[in-house]
Symmetry: D2
Subunit: 364 residues, 4 copies
Amino acid sequence: MINRNRIGIAYSLTSFGESHGKAIGGVIDGLPAGIPIDIDDIQRQLNRRRPGQNALTTARNESDTVELLSGIFNGVSTGAPIGFIISNCDQRPEDYEEIAQAYRPSHADFTYDIKYGGHHDHRGGGRASARETACRIVAGAIAQQALATRGITITAYTSQIKDIKLDIPYTQLDLKHIDDNEVRCPNTEKAALMRQAILDAKQQGDSVGGIVTCIVQGAPVGLGEPVFGRLNASLAAAMMSINAAKGVEFGLGFEFATKNGSEVLDLFTNNDGKIRTATNHSGGIQGGISNGEDIILRVAFKPVPTLMRDIPTVRRDGTPTVLHPHGRHDACVVPRAVPVVEAMAAITLLDQYLQYCQQLGFKQ
Amino acid sequence: MINRNRIGIAYSLTSFGESHGKAIGGVIDGLPAGIPIDIDDIQRQLNRRRPGQNALTTARNESDTVELLSGIFNGVSTGAPIGFIISNCDQRPEDYEEIAQAYRPSHADFTYDIKYGGHHDHRGGGRASARETACRIVAGAIAQQALATRGITITAYTSQIKDIKLDIPYTQLDLKHIDDNEVRCPNTEKAALMRQAILDAKQQGDSVGGIVTCIVQGAPVGLGEPVFGRLNASLAAAMMSINAAKGVEFGLGFEFATKNGSEVLDLFTNNDGKIRTATNHSGGIQGGISNGEDIILRVAFKPVPTLMRDIPTVRRDGTPTVLHPHGRHDACVVPRAVPVVEAMAAITLLDQYLQYCQQLGFKQ
Amino acid sequence: MINRNRIGIAYSLTSFGESHGKAIGGVIDGLPAGIPIDIDDIQRQLNRRRPGQNALTTARNESDTVELLSGIFNGVSTGAPIGFIISNCDQRPEDYEEIAQAYRPSHADFTYDIKYGGHHDHRGGGRASARETACRIVAGAIAQQALATRGITITAYTSQIKDIKLDIPYTQLDLKHIDDNEVRCPNTEKAALMRQAILDAKQQGDSVGGIVTCIVQGAPVGLGEPVFGRLNASLAAAMMSINAAKGVEFGLGFEFATKNGSEVLDLFTNNDGKIRTATNHSGGIQGGISNGEDIILRVAFKPVPTLMRDIPTVRRDGTPTVLHPHGRHDACVVPRAVPVVEAMAAITLLDQYLQYCQQLGFKQ
Amino acid sequence: MINRNRIGIAYSLTSFGESHGKAIGGVIDGLPAGIPIDIDDIQRQLNRRRPGQNALTTARNESDTVELLSGIFNGVSTGAPIGFIISNCDQRPEDYEEIAQAYRPSHADFTYDIKYGGHHDHRGGGRASARETACRIVAGAIAQQALATRGITITAYTSQIKDIKLDIPYTQLDLKHIDDNEVRCPNTEKAALMRQAILDAKQQGDSVGGIVTCIVQGAPVGLGEPVFGRLNASLAAAMMSINAAKGVEFGLGFEFATKNGSEVLDLFTNNDGKIRTATNHSGGIQGGISNGEDIILRVAFKPVPTLMRDIPTVRRDGTPTVLHPHGRHDACVVPRAVPVVEAMAAITLLDQYLQYCQQLGFKQ
């Protein structure tokens, strides 16, 4: 379920905050009581997303330190909502005087300005800034910890930057090495090429797009609710709510369109008494419900539209102007989007898992 | 917002029904009062989806006649919920005795069986059957009529079947000719090739996948709600809730991943006093909010998994068995999915439009 | 959760239909799979509410036969939504020509007319008619069956008609005798007095109000969700959504206002190893959460505003007019409201029970 | 709509925080853009609720200073969510060591302990503490400011303490004088008697209950959504979610039960071309929808269960014990509940008003 600034029914995040306001934060509701919460681990996930971590990312310097304000007592969840804030430290509103007057192309300046009658906080994109995704990391990291107690793990990695594709299936990759490089690609050679592609774009004042692949392992058969609350529908909404995401696919995804049915059936097998599928073209979801195989999805991100070049545009009143490069920006959002994709998958999975627990609990 | 068998907040559809039960139907809630409802037009949309309409579709013979039970008085919407049913006429439960015992690969038999502890109605897929999408057509057709009063139109067409791609941009197509052929592709030559590809697959007892493109025209600037209720997130959930849908993308979609930012910026122009974009790579959505340009999305469908061939599988108890071909099925779901994509877009757009009206109405 | 024509999150009813349209009905979503459904029992509850059952009720003759269209297979719930309709048989739209022109005092004619711009179905109150509560009975009866499998029972009875109060606590009443009389009061003497009060009012072309008391037994400790989703908040919303309901209270309710704290503390006791309270002034709810004692609530109903007398009023255009008595109406809604109160309590309890099962199921 | 720690659909508050944690706070979502926000006025409402303000209230010393973190720019709402926190300053967790071991009667200690498996934060009631209502004041004060721009005002006052009733109708009271006394009763004589009743109880280490009356003026015809989302159902849920609230009624409320229909019809009149009712027994709501008259409701509060006396109870393990008086508590919650009732009414009214704006906006 998505509604404005909230996602989830049984496990939900309601977030707030603008890029250059006092703080961002949110309320996490629905976490069952009794789950040990590792705050260091939440911070580790935040650090994977935070700006200024390496040469590939924006120079904006934010520690992204989360402060948990409620819902945890003696290190364990209480069932009460978890309120949290992340202060904005490196605010430079003066960097954004120009965009108070002119619309940056392919940004949200124009749509927010019209939608909200000129009352939005334009500084650094305000509410439309990807800075908001830090709140998702908090809710996602906590969801990952809860899911881990049920044996469910979520792993995302960079699988494409521009034309450099990691074509090796995830089953043949060592997913422990994702963070060995700045690109978050678990293959050293491809990672190096991807890194260079990003640096090349950066040098030219340009940017590049890419793809994040996400794998959910250990999900039981039965997550997802027919017919609108399908697991893939919920995951698609979660992914497409990430800034710069422009497409999402499951299993073979768009490749399915080019196939015959006979090529892509996932035949059932009896695996030592357990019914499994011999292949997993479907990406772990059948009829909108998890089938016990790994859930596989891919999210396409557009190149960030802020370029270190002069960009022609118009002002609010329609007169032409030119935006001059300054501010601090990523040349590619994909490496920092990796933990965000994990977070959104975790929030969705825990939400669906708790709804699935209704039936489990009722039978007791 | 999606929750189990309901979609939408301000305008919502709650649907029910199984493929071979007495009837399918639903409740439409939130339609404003005072909108003239053309029942013949709803039926026309239903006829575009119904089985047995031509050589490309399953031989199951269903008239798909909708009966509207409430919410309309003297031909005009009253603001009260619209209840409706569509009777199932051509029920042949005996065709499905086999699948009571064996799981059809890449169908929902297995996941439903485990999720619901063996209590689901397996006949013809039961609740998982695409027959349920007829209910979406009813809610979608009514939404299309309401949106039309605000100048918003929605058009979908088949843009790919297997490797046959309609590469011509929609702006150079005559979208009035979509229904001139059975494939619902607005280009005669491509349509003929696509039709043949489907018939070839059918002759071989096989099936094929494809892509539906959908264009929304006339939407104002401002539809969509940050940050989770983004227009693209809502549309993605709606599309991925359609049976057999495996991917969705907006504007350039996955192609964005291969691009530099400098190639795909949608620069602003002053078009006779109106701010527009010179290109529309973004597909009409910026920051999750409509920007007044055409909204463009594409949905990938997998080949239907029911083949007219012997298929090895397992029974509930894990023992191997072979499914023999019978029953009545489409060799390609895409032409019939075209009106379903339109319906899901219409439901989502009207839902977002009504939320957008809150701000409009408040200012009065 | 209430939203327009829907109630409930985990277990929900979305209803539709007008008093003199083709049919009323609804969709029940969220019932767990595997619960045997006794259709005769649903019909029995409907019969307790239906018009024309005895001298106290309106002469409108409706069989109120429910047709279940989905979600039940081989007599057992499947987890899929249950669609149902109840046809309107005894439609006499011509009885209502007068109210097309004039607003009946203390009815919804005026508010609906203004809210919906004159487009509502005025016949017999249309959507505002209490006929709609039949749909709640269906969802409630099914919820009662599901709750009964967990040992939870719900019983309502008439405890006041005009100034005739049943002052005996429910613990000293035999609640099996509620249906022994037409008033549904489990005390023969009071029932006779109440019956006479209703008949007296009827003879004078007048009507009377009253109170329904409802007892929930067998609920575990822990139902209800802080802080807004409190059990009493949910129950209050459910009760106040019933036609003609004007007040609701829990335990001592309004009497609490007149008390000292020292008079009304529910002291804890150790009852053979089980912690119980010695008294139950609170009505089974502490901090918004069930405490394992019986849940006690009372709902006040106003006298029905349709009188068999000439009533001065205004027409739509503001000119004065007089409504002349005709049509078919109850002189007191309370006896027929008894099963409706049970139904609303059952829907709410099952909804909360399923949310409570999330935590139960998660621990498994 | 209520769901766990959230209330509202179009305008919603999601709150968090425990009595003795770091801070309480919340997220307000759905406020239209362009509304000037007076922060001093929010603080004034908070001050009416805060502890330690006078002789009648608990000595706990909290400044209840709200910090608004987002959603407001240059003093005007932006349409983005408003995050806020209120720090807990006067934390004395050591006061609550005793209740870690023993259940306070008629408090939520027991129900929370069982529901959350012993993991709740027991200090000062934790999440169950009325301290949480400060967050509602913030969302309510902002809603009141928004409603005021549409001519809608909300006023609550103390109308009963123990057996001292203010029987004068609000139309004959000067509602500007509510805050002239500590009890918040707009009649000097009654206020003095009420004050004495509270001080008497306090001196005896006891507590007293009472009633708050709330009046909404200026609401248009048409607020409220059939059939479950009725205005009175939404308001009832909002009111019954307040700590210690045990009953709610509209217009004549429970008195309706004792009346004949002929005594309580609200006859229509033509008031200089505007259709009004001559009386307002219904309390401004007909068929669940506002009819343009003043909305009148009353909320009953139980005496606070914390007494300054020795109280026998049981420990977690069921062994008997005695609670000794200490800590800091109100002898009567009613005067401080007055602004909370206003806040809950304002949140509900704005939520319904925005839904009503959908139809208004659609017609434009």
